[in-house]
Amino acid sequence: MVPLTHYLALGAILFLIGAAGVIMRRNAIMILLSIELMLNSVNITFVGFARQWADLTGQVFAIFVIAVAACEAAVGLAILISLNRDRSMVNVDEINLLKW
């Protein structure tokens, strides 16, 4: 039986890696990928808690998180593609205007 703290620690480490990626990388796709990692770290903690209390709520929420991640990926990538097409840029620090 894996103790809950292990799941939580793993989730925290992944969250930190993801957060570091979001803050440090310039490439917008890398930022999106890091966000996916952060969402997954949350999933791990959800599943860990579900395991601990033998309650399926955690797993159900993990499924919802995956649904949200799918939405986020679709919209995020659509924005990136249109940015890449119209302004030909992928680096976030160049996208510094609210409106063109």
Binding site: N84, R85, S88, M89, E94
Partner: protein, 380 residues
């Protein structure tokens, strides 16, 4: 101001173009350009926005060679022009030279020439159908067509001793009369072949996928086709009833009964139907030739050294691919002063750009197949 911009240039990803047009080289090693044709396609996604043909990979200077050798010696070179239908090219050359002389050719020779020319049409159309179907993914038609093409090549072998570059005709008629076995086998083939055409049609004509891939693809109107001086099935697919066998009959065609099939919409499917029907009509012509074949000599009297009178002549025949013509200038010597070839594939290929623009890559393959090119005469 400007320098600051350029010094920070690598920092900015604006060097990166947003959407790039994809340029792909189709050929000269591509499996479905039917030889060494190179088509440069500009793609937006998979839609063709521009198309440019690069030809000449098979250029051998045939026209120049023709100016340096005698009229008889040039006949084997014509085999290598449209090598899919070699007897047709032979026929174009010998009839052109005979026209220059004004010779009268015996009837039997005329009939045998028509017979062999129709066999070469069938052989060419079979190869076209085989590769065209394979391009669109139908694999079995390919091998079925080759089965019948093999029979035609065997016929050539029986009559002339060669299969592909047959060197079939001579100036003034034929080298010798065809053996009886050839005529028997021809009759056998002519009786068998219509059923085989039915087999191909079973696989393709009403096949939903085939219809979706060919109908409404590569449409060209009759006016455009005439403006681009397209000839052959490509022109007839657009509904223009133009066939040199009818318009300016040569060989035995004035005495033969056949229909010139035409399409309606000028798309890939109509060109397919036209060629299929042409194969049926060719079989009819073969039947008639065999039935009407007159007795007699197969060659007129030909002088030992062939020196045509000075002058010029243009003569064209209906090759399987379209109008195949020779423009000849003679200065009265043993060699022609100028030989100019009017190749059907080369001219028809000029219509490719108009046909493929706005289509998809997969359509390009179908359209090249439907134009039916052979690079031997295109590059000359």
């Amino acid at each position: 101001m400007f320098e600051v911009e350029s010094s920070t240039r690598i920092e900015r990803s604006s060097v990166m173009p947003g959407t790039e047009e994809l340029i792909i080289n189709m050929g000269p090693q591509h499996p479905s350009t039917h030889g060494v044709l190179r088509v440069i396609l500009r793609l937006d996604g998979e839609t063709v926005t521009d198309c440019d043909c690069d030809i000449g990979f098979l250029h051998r200077g045939t026209e120049k060679i023709g100016e340096n050798i005698t009229y008889t010696m040039f006949i084997p070179y014509t085999d290598r022009l449209d090598y899919i239908a070699a007897p047709s090219s032979n026929l174009a050359w010998v009839t052109a030279v005979e026209k220059l002389f004004g010779w009268e050719i015996p009837m039997r020779a005329h009939y045998i020439r028509s017979l062999v020319a129709e066999f070469s049409r069938i052989s060419s159309h079979l190869l076209w159908l085989a590769t065209h179907a394979l391009d669109i993914g139908a694999m079995t038609v390919f091998l079925w067509c080759f089965r019948e093409r093999e029979m035609v090549l065997d016929l050539f072998e029986t009559a002339f001793g060669a299969r592909l570059t047959v060197n079939a005709f001579r100036l003034g008629g034929l080298f010798q009369d065809v053996p009886q076995k050839f005529l028997d086998l021809s009759q056998e083939f002519a009786d068998l072949f219509p059923g085989r055409i039915g087999d191909y049609e079973t696989l393709l004509t009403d096949n939903r996928i085939w219809l979706q891939r060919t109908r409404g693809i590569g449409v060209i109107s009759a006016d455009d086709a005439i403006d681009l001086s397209l000839t052959g099935p490509v022109l007839r697919g657009s509904g223009v009833r133009w066939d040199i066998r009818r318009a300016e009959p040569y060989a035995a065609y004035p005495y033969l009964d056949f229909v010139v099939p035409v399409g309606e919409n000028g798309d890939v499917y109509d060109r397919y139907l036209v060629r299929i029907e042409e194969m049926r009509q060719s079989t009819r012509i073969i039947q008639q030739c065999l039935a009407q074949l007159p007795k007699g000599p197969v060659s007129c009297k030909v002088p030992r050294t062939i020196k045509p009178p000075a002058g010029e002549v243009y003569h064209s025949i209906e090759n399987p691919k379209g109008e195949f013509g020779f423009y000849l200038v003679s200065d009265g010597s043993e060699t022609p002063y100028r030989v100019r070839i009017r190749p059907p594939s080369f001219v028809n290929l000029g219509g490719l750009k108009k046909l493929v623009l706005g289509g998809l890559v997969a359509d390009v393959v179908a359209i090249i197949g439907s134009i039916d090119i052979v690079l031997g005469e295109c590059d000359r």
